[in-house]
Symmetry: C2
Subunit: 658 residues, 2 copies
């Protein structure tokens, strides 16, 4: 199998993770993810987000779920008082499980007992609601409810179970087996018994059970769970579910995953499914299945992905849309699709060692995952459009937002999948920092951190990373402890970082995007410095992206920038601006600026907006002036505002010659 | 009241229409619409469509409704056999009523007994289902059904009743009072009794009852119905309905119609509501209400309308979207919204005499109404996007299409509002041809026709129009019979027709867009010739329409043109083309062509589509070659195909200076 056989990295089949926990731990692959015992953030961009997640977001999520009765749903099943007035959507249980998963990881990360207590408290309530045969769901199968598995298309039962299994994996790998793990095992066994080769031939409308089963199978060394995941994967794509108005592509039941060419339909569904497919491909040494996901990744990233890494162009079905359908204003780019995209890319990177996957992860981390939570960790973006024409309403932190739009972060949503997804991702962010191979250690992301990693050959490398990235492009790696003999140290040079320089062993040398290599014995105390070029740059879209024609964006390092209407002079609107591309964007002490022309409007009366003149709408232009941009991930932090990532240009360059 | 008091045109308060029938007959206004007894099409574009509608579409619709059980729903109510398995959506009754309306108009137009028989046959089945108190609906209020008016947001009960009243108006104005009219009166009285000033304070989630009540009130001279329409109008916009996930703007319950600035939410709902508002404003001499609709029309036409006249930019809610949100690929432009747009513009034109409204009507007629039906009248477009990236599936004439997308016309839809809406519009198309004022006759649209109109002063003008419009720009108006004294003959010169020439009374003179005037006595036998310039032209979008930046469209006369992938050489895709705007589009014996460059693709491997080079995607270009375009209204007539109205240009012109 391509790229997955050279290193076998599985360290335990009993569940507890000697490296301190990590969400994904394949049995084999090019790269082994470091565990929480091997990496610690010491400060900077992600440490701040991780700290806010721990101190604000986790309690915020639990409070909302208690307030809305999503937790009490479990008590009511346990007490036999279910009825037609159950709180929340059918998938509300999954939010509880994602919160438990996040709490478990945060306990594993910080060792703080408060998170362990919370897991135990929530586990106790959940466990009481489990039926004798292992079935656990608060929406189906009890008095006054629809029968179990009577609505596979939209009932989300197996989806919820999948999140329960992921929560149990977090617990297994941080504290070892406990009550939650026991509940999850019973639930997983029930699923295998019910939907096994001789059972119901169904699948869940929302993939997730597959990735939960695969990881629980890995964590417990139980191949039956992995095989059940494979069975679900291969059952899909044959019209197994009922047709729906949005079509079977919505839940990827239109074509088998092994033959499909690209991602389509509901983005989160497509991506959770692909994450599971990589897991199964790796565990069962199935190169066809791995190649299928790699192909779908490549095609969707080339033609169905926004500059931010965001996926999903349609509100109607929260779906991908077609190739080149990438409207900035109606970009959906659900936060959860960002989480799911990281899940897929991470698994592909571990299997193949290809840094393209890490490039997309970094882009998605900085421009989707970091964009969703408000600075205080108590409100979130659900959709992440690249253009906001009309400023959203001021947020009301006491209200449940009904919709995935609006231009301001919301404290909670009617469908509130994103906050807990962000929470579980941030709690494990440091486990994406670096990976180990047989003799090599690869730094993928740059943050202030301590790393003490065990290589595949058993040797230990201990490093300290100092950096103010992404504010600054200097990354200093200090060797704290070095093993005997040569070490293959790798530093990822992001795809955008042309002109990067590596300063090590007494010499400075240019390094290309990809992996910069240091192949030698390391000296304790020595410093290796990577200089990433952080000059702001214009970014142009492929000519086939109709919705972006005649526009440029500005990026700096891994960050996408945007213009906000709150930064414009009175009487000017975002639509009035065009960028003077003859002047490069500037970085003035961390403040990124472009020069813009302001186009005076001359339409006092509304008029037909199509005409025989190329200046349609009629404009005249001032001399260019400076406009400050802000990182996209911090937009709308100063209140409701209009926003544009893609800025029209004065003199659109030819899209071809002559 | 601005523009509505100078001429009172009401001719009858007993229902039957001495002019042979017309859908709209205000009591006053600048212009009086001609009736079916005053106009006849003699050949050409619209006569063909009207004939196909009569001979194919009407029977097609009845067959599908019989097949799907939508007609039997009435029998089941009558027989007391209703149950939970009722066929179709809650609004299926309205399709039956729209079909009856179309049949009644076609009977009025052609005098063919077969259509009268069909009306009687269907009326008999409907009448049996009416409850003793006048309530008539097959979805609510009977055994096994929800109670009456228990779901005003989405139940569509009053919506259905509104269409019943419009069908009755068609009957009243063609045959006079009959069983259908009696049924409709009872239903209207029931609505007034139930929802009157002292009744339920509700409104229907889908406006339509208002326009039905207003026109029935006019046809019967019953001001109570008009007043009930006003009451519904003024109740709306105060959060009268429950909030829904899409927000109250979806059904225009977010802001009163008198204060709203533009159209928003579901397009058909917004437009039916506005049509009713014009009716009420005219009947009750309410200048504030008329001005509100004029303002909303002006703003929405300037910023929320596609080049085709299509309205609605979002699939999610079939809604308008925001100002400048006009994506060609996801343009919804529902056929019914085109019908509804004509309804509003027609009423505004009659009230004010402003030809801007007629301009939009013509654009919508040729590019939305004429686009929907297949040439054989047995399949229809529901949505009318301006770009189709991936050719749709080949149509299956035996299948019900679940969705309003796909790029091929469908025989029938799960939600099948469009076919009957097209049918009732085509059956009355000739009543939009011309209007009469006190001393004037205005020709609004050009088609082979005979017109014998009575002016407001009682004099008769009789004309024959000969033209091959829109294939040719020559319109010959022959005076058949002329009254004593001067006549104010007006010929609309469309807004696009710069360079038009009027040849009359022995002289040729240039005429500007607007109304060309002939103010003199007419001589029987004389010919007045209008030459409209039919040279194809490039059309540019307003710079604020982000989705169209760097593109041009081609129009010729009232027709929008498009490129279809079936016309491209093997191996070329629509995305590969850019238009050479240095060469004007040509008309070669009716074949419209542009010169295009073909951009060779050089991306054998999928790659990240954003980069530092302005030729993103990488292209090189051949010498330009000729490409034939087709009128948009005939796209996809040669099978599934990709399509573009807006074509990228090689050298985008500056959107400002310098």
């Amino acid at each position: 199998m391509r790229g997955t056989t050279n290193v076998t990295v599985q360290e335990s089949t009993t569940g507890a993770d000697p490296k301190g926990g990590r969400p994904v731990l394949p049995s084999r692959g090019r790269q082994r993810p470091l565990g929480m015992g091997e990496t610690t953030l010491t400060g900077g961009f992600w440490a701040t987000l991780q700290q806010t997640n721990a101190t604000a977001t986790l309690a915020h999520c639990e409070q909302w779920m208690e307030h809305l009765g999503w937790l009490a749903n479990f008590d009511r099943v346990a007490d036999g008082t279910t009825g037609p007035d159950r709180a929340g959507w059918s998938f509300a249980d999954s939010e509880v499980y994602k919160l438990i998963e996040a709490l478990a990881w945060e306990h594993g990360r910080s060792g703080d007992q408060v998170y362990d207590d919370a897991v135990r408290r929530l586990t106790a309530r959940i466990a009481r609601a489990q039926d004798a045969d292992g079935y656990l769901n608060t929406c189906f199968g009890h008095a006054g409810q629809q029968p179990r598995y009577s609505d596979l298309e939209f009932g989300h039962e197996l989806y919820c179970t999948g999140h329960l299994l992921q929560a149990a994996v977090a617990r297994l790998r941080t504290t070892g087996p406990d009550d939650l793990v026991a509940v999850a095992r019973r639930a997983a066994d029930h699923v295998c018994d019910t939907f096994g080769p001789d059972g119901l031939p169904g699948i869940c409308g929302h993939p997730e059970i597959e990735v939960g089963l695969a990881e629980l199978g890995r964590a417990l060394g139980d191949s039956r769970y992995v095989e059940q995941a494979r069975l679900f994967l291969d059952r899909r794509g044959h019209g197994t579910l009922k047709d729906i108005p949005l079509g079977r592509a919505y839940f990827q039941d239109d074509e088998p995953i092994r033959t499909a060419g690209t991602w389509r339909g509901h983005a989160v569904r497509a991506l959770y499914l692909s994450a599971a497919a990589v897991d199964v491909a790796v565990e069962q040494e199935d190169p066809e299945l791995l190649a299928a996901v790699e192909r779908q990744w490549a095609n969707a990233v080339a033609r169905r992905t926004h500059l931010t890494g965001g996926m999903g162009s349609r509100h109607q079905d929260e779906g991908f849309g077609e190739d080149w359908e990438l409207p900035p204003d109606r970009a959906y780019c659900e936060t959860c699709a960002g989480v799911a995209s990281v899940m897929v890319s991470w698994r592909l990177y571990l299997a193949t060692g290809d840094v393209r996957y890490a490039d997309l992860i970094e882009r998605t981390f900085f421009n989707i995952i970091a964009t969703s939570p408000r600075s205080d960790g108590r409100a979130f973006f659900y959709a992440n459009p690249l253009q906001q024409r009309v400023p959203g309403a001021a947020s009301d932190d006491d209200a449940v937002s009904p919709r995935a739009e609006g231009g301001s972060r919301a404290a909670w949503f009617d469908v509130s999948c994103c906050p807990t997804n962000v929470a579980r991702t941030l709690a494990t962010w440091h486990t994406y920092l670096a990976t180990a191979g047989r003799h090599e250690l690869t730094l993928l992301h740059y943050a202030g951190a301590r790393i003490e990693a065990e290589l595949g050959d058993g040797r230990i490398v201990s490093l300290e990373v100092e950096t103010d990235y992404p504010r600054d492009g200097l990354v200093t790696v200090r060797v704290v402890r070095a093993p005997e003999g040569p070490v293959a140290l790798r530093l990822r040079v992001p795809a955008w970082a042309r002109g990067a320089v590596l300063d090590e062993g007494g010499r400075r040398r240019p390094v290309e995007p990809g992996l910069a290599a240091v192949d030698r014995a390391l000296d304790p105390g020595e410093e290796i410095r990577l200089h990433l070029p952080m000059t702001p740059r214009f970014t142009w879209p492929d000519r086939r992206i109709d919705a972006l024609r005649g526009c440029v964006a500005v990026e700096r390092g891994p960050l996408v920038y945007c213009a906000e209407s709150v930064d414009l002079p009175e009487g000017t609107e975002l639509d009035d601006l065009t960028v003077d591309i003859r002047a490069e964007p500037l970085d003035q002490d961390g403040r990124v600026t472009v020069r813009v022309f302001r186009n005076h409007r001359r339409d006092p009366e509304p008029a037909w907006p199509y005409g025989t003149s190329a200046d349609g709408g009629g404009t005249s232009t001032t001399a260019s002036t400076e406009l400050a941009l802000v990182p996209y991930h911090r937009w709308a932090e100063r209140g409701p505002t209009g926003m544009r990532v893609w800025l029209p240009i004065v003199h659109p360059a030819p899209v071809g010659s002559p």
